[in-house]
C-alpha cells in the first residue's frame, strides 16, 4: 500500500525525533572515531596498515567470526524448535514457550553471564554434580574459554532469533501443509520439504540478526571468556582504555562497522524489514 504525500510527511515527522537522536548519539560521535582512525597517533593510513599485519588483531577477528558463526547456527536451530511450539503448539505449550522466550528479557546480560559462571565453573553446579555421580574425576573446562562464551551468547540471543522465525511461520498458509499430507507426505517429510523451505526468509533474517549481534558482544565474552577468549569488541575496549592506542582501536571499530553495514545491506536484499518483526 502506498501512502499519500501527506501520509509520508506525517510519517517523516513521527520518525524525526528518533532520527535526530540517532544522529546526535551515534552518527556524530562515530565520525569522531573515524577521524581518530586516520589521525592518531600520526595522520595517515598507518593504523589500517597495522591492522593488515597485526597477527593479534587478525586472530581476534577470526575468533570473533568463528564464535559468531557457531552461536548463529546453534541459536537459530534452538529458536526454530521453540518457535514451532510457540506458533503451532497447543494453548498450554504456547504459554510455556512464550514464558521461555520472554523471561530472559527481564534479566540483565550481566546477571545472566554470572549465572552461567556459577553453573559452568570448575566448582560450579554442573561439574560438582557430574563428579558426585562419578561420571568425571576432574572438572571439565566449561568456562573461561570459547565454549563458555558460546553457551552464554547463545542463551542471550535465542529470544532475538525467535521473532523473525515466528513472523514467517505465522504468515504460512496451513492449507499448503494439509495439501502436502493429503498428497501422501508424512509429517516429517512435510516439515522438512515444505515447512522449513517456506520459512526461509525467517531463517535468513534470524541468522543475520544473531550474527550481527554476536560480532559486537562485549560483556558476555569478557566474563565467560575470562580474558582468554577475547572477541573484537573487547579488543577495542582494551586498545582504547588500557593500551592506550586510540588510533588502532578506532580503526578496528571502523572496520567492524563497515563489515556489519555490508551484512545488513546483504540482509535487506533478501528480506523485507517487515518480516523481521
Amino acid at each position: 500500500m502506498r501512502g499519500t504525500r501527506s501520509d509520508r510527511t506525517g510519517a517523516a515527522l513521527l520518525m524525526a525525533p528518533l532520527l535526530l537522536f540517532l544522529a546526535l548519539a551515534y552518527a556524530w560521535p562515530f565520525l569522531g572515531v573515524v577521524k581518530w582512525s586516520f589521525t592518531l597517533p600520526t595522520p595517515g593510513l598507518g593504523q589500517y596498515g597495522a591492522l593488515a599485519t597485526d597477527s593479534l588483531v587478525q586472530s581476534v577477528f577470526i575468533r570473533t567470526l568463528r564464535i559468531a558463526a557457531i552461536v548463529t547456527i546453534v541459536s537459530v536451530a534452538a529458536a526454530y524448535a521453540i518457535t514451532v511450539v510457540w506458533v503451532r503448539g497447543t494453548p498450554a505449550q504456547r504459554l510455556i514457550a512464550e514464558f521461555c522466550i520472554l523471561v530472559p528479557f527481564w534479566i540483565s546480560v550481566l546477571t545472566r553471564a554470572f549465572g552461567w559462571v556459577a553453573l559452568l565453573s570448575n566448582r560450579g553446579l554442573i561439574n560438582t554434580w557430574l563428579q558426585s555421580i562419578g561420571f568425571i574425576s576432574e572438572p571439565l573446562a566449561l568456562v573461561r574459554n570459547e565454549f563458555g562464551v558460546i553457551v552464554g551468547m547463545t542463551h542471550f540471543l535465542i529470544p532475538f532469533a525467535v521473532f523473525p522465525l515466528a513472523s514467517s511461520m505465522r504468515s504460512l498458509d496451513d492449507r499448503v501443509l494439509l495439501a502436502a499430507r493429503g498428497l501422501g507426505s508424512s509429517r516429517m517429510r512435510t516439515f522438512w520439504s515444505i515447512f522449513v523451505p517456506m520459512t526461509r526468509s525467517g531463517i535468513i533474517g534470524s541468522a543475520m540478526i544473531v550474527f550481527v549481534f554476536s560480532l559486537g558482544f562485549f560483556v558476555t565474552p569478557a566474563i565467560l571468556g575470562g580474558g582468554r577468549s577475547v572477541m573484537i569488541a573487547e579488543l577495542i575496549y582494551l586498545r582504547i582504555f588500557q593500551s592506550p592506542d586510540w588510533g588502532l582501536g578506532a580503526a578496528i571499530s571502523v572496520v567492524l562497522v563497515l563489515f556489519v553495514g555490508a551484512l545488513m545491506a546483504l540482509l535487506f536484499r533478501y528480506v523485507r524489514p517487515k518480516q523481521l518483526i
Binding site: L178, A180, S185
Partner: protein, 364 residues
C-alpha cells in the same frame, strides 16, 4: 493413464461431527459410486466442507464409519488414504516450480526418476501447462495455478479426487472453461470425483449426482434433473433455483399422480404420488409456467395479474399476483411479457401436469 477400475467406491455410514456443542454434520449416510462425479452442494456452514475434510482424513468424525472399497478407513491418517485434493486457493508449494509441485506426490511415493519424469510430463501436457514447467506458482495466472493444483492431485492416480470450491477465485469466463476442463479430466481418468460448491448451477452442470446439505444434514441426493425437478424438500427446491409455491387443498391420490384444489380450481399432478394427505404446497419452476388468455377445461391454470417485468435478454421475467394474493414469477418470451403487461388485467398461468410437484405443507 488410469484404469477406471481403480476408482474408489466410498461408503459413509452415520458420519457425524461436533465441534464443542456445534453439530457440524449429523447422521450422514451416503454411498459414492466408483467413478462417479458427486457434488456436495449447500450454503456455507452446511457441513459439506466438513464432510470433504472427513473424506480426506484431515478431520476425524465424532461418530460413524467410513469405508473405501469395503475397507474401514475411518482412523486412517490423511497421508495413507491416497485421495487427491484440490484446495480453495490451490495451496501450491510456493517455493517449488510447476514441475516440482506436480512431482511431489510421486517423490513421496519414492517412484523412480524416469517414472516421475514421464508421468509429470504427461500430466503437464494433459492440463495444458507446457512451457511453464520451470515457473514458480507466483508467476502463474489463477487459471494456470488451478491447472497445477489439478495436475498435482491427479498425477499419482488417486482412487478419489476431492475438490474444495476450486473455482471460487476465478472470474466467470475462466470458470466455465475450467469446469469443462474438469469434466474432461473426469472422463479421461475415470476417477471418483467429490466436488464441493455453493454454486447450484455449477453443481447441476458438472455432476452425475448432487448431494444437498443444510444445517449439517444431508437433505437429498440424486441426479441433477432429479433433484431439480423433484425436490423432496422445500430447502432443496428453493436452493436449486427459483420456485413458485402455491397452497394446495384436498390433496388426493389419483391415476399416476394426484389432484387437489389450487385457488378453488382443480389441478392435477402427474408422476408424483401425494404422500402428504390434506394440504400441501404445489411447487412449479418459473420456466415451466406459461401465460395464456384462458385455461381450457381440465388444463392446470390459475388466474393472475401481471405487476412487474424484468428484461433478461433471451427472456423476460414476469412477476404476478394471483387472486388470493400469492406471488408468482414466470420466465416467458419477451413479446408475451409485453402483451401480458400492456393488457394490465387478468391473465391465466398454465403448466403441464408433470411439471408441478408436491412439498410438505409448512416448515421444511
Amino acid at each position: 493413464m488410469q484404469q477406471p477400475g481403480r476408482a474408489a467406491e466410498i461408503k459413509a455410514i452415520g458420519i457425524g461431527k461436533s465441534f464443542g456443542s456445534f453439530r457440524a454434520l449429523d447422521e450422514l449416510t451416503l454411498d459414492i459410486g466408483r467413478g462417479e462425479f458427486l457434488t456436495l452442494l449447500g450454503p456455507s456452514g452446511s457441513g459439506k466442507t466438513t464432510f470433504l475434510m472427513i473424506l480426506a482424513g484431515f478431520v476425524q468424525p465424532s461418530d460413524g464409519r467410513l469405508f473405501s472399497d469395503g475397507v474401514d478407513i475411518t482412523e486412517r491418517p490423511a497421508e495413507q488414504r491416497a485421495a487427491g485434493m484440490v484446495f480453495q486457493g490451490y495451496a501450491l508449494f510456493p517455493h517449488m516450480s510447476v514441475e516440482a509441485n506436480i512431482a511431489f506426490p510421486l517423490r513421496v511415493r519414492k517412484k523412480s526418476a524416469t517414472e516421475i519424469k514421464r508421468r509429470v510430463g504427461e500430466m503437464i501436457e494433459r492440463v495444458g501447462l507446457k512451457g511453464h514447467e520451470k515457473k514458480l506458482p507466483a508467476q502463474l495466472s489463477g487459471g494456470q495455478q488451478q491447472r497445477v493444483a489439478l495436475a498435482r492431485a491427479l498425477v499419482f492416480e488417486p482412487g478419489v479426487l476431492l475438490l474444495d470450491e476450486p473455482f471460487s477465485a476465478l472470474d466467470k469466463s475462466l470458470r466455465g472453461q475450467m469446469q469443462a476442463e474438469m469434466k474432461r479430466l473426469h472422463q479421461e481418468t475415470g476417477t471418483t470425483f467429490v466436488f464441493v460448491t455453493h454454486d447450484q448451477s455449477e453443481a447441476l452442470a458438472l455432476s452425475s449426482r448432487v448431494a444437498i446439505f443444510n444445517h449439517g444434514k444431508l437433505l437429498q441426493v440424486g441426479a441433477p434433473d432429479e433433484v431439480y425437478d423433484r425436490p423432496t424438500n422445500r430447502f432443496v427446491a428453493e436452493f436449486l433455483g427459483e420456485i413458485n409455491m402455491l397452497p394446495l387443498k384436498g390433496v388426493r391420490n389419483a391415476d399416476n399422480g394426484a389432484t387437489g384444489l389450487c385457488e378453488d380450481r382443480a389441478v392435477s399432478l402427474r408422476g408424483n404420488a401425494a404422500t402428504v394427505g390434506g394440504n400441501a404446497i404445489l411447487a412449479i419452476r418459473p420456466e415451466h409456467m406459461s401465460i395464456a388468455r384462458e385455461a381450457a377445461v381440465g388444463e392446470n391454470g390459475i388466474a393472475a395479474t401481471a405487476i412487474a417485468s424484468t428484461y433478461l435478454g433471451a427472456a423476460t421475467r414476469l412477476d404476478l399476483t394471483t387472486r388470493k394474493g400469492a406471488k408468482v414469477t414466470v420466465s416467458v418470451p419477451n413479446e408475451v411479457a409485453a402483451a401480458a403487461l400492456s393488457k394490465g388485467n387478468s391473465v391465466w398461468l398454465t403448466w403441464p401436469a408433470e411439471k408441478g410437484f408436491l412439498l410438505p405443507d409448512g416448515g421444511q
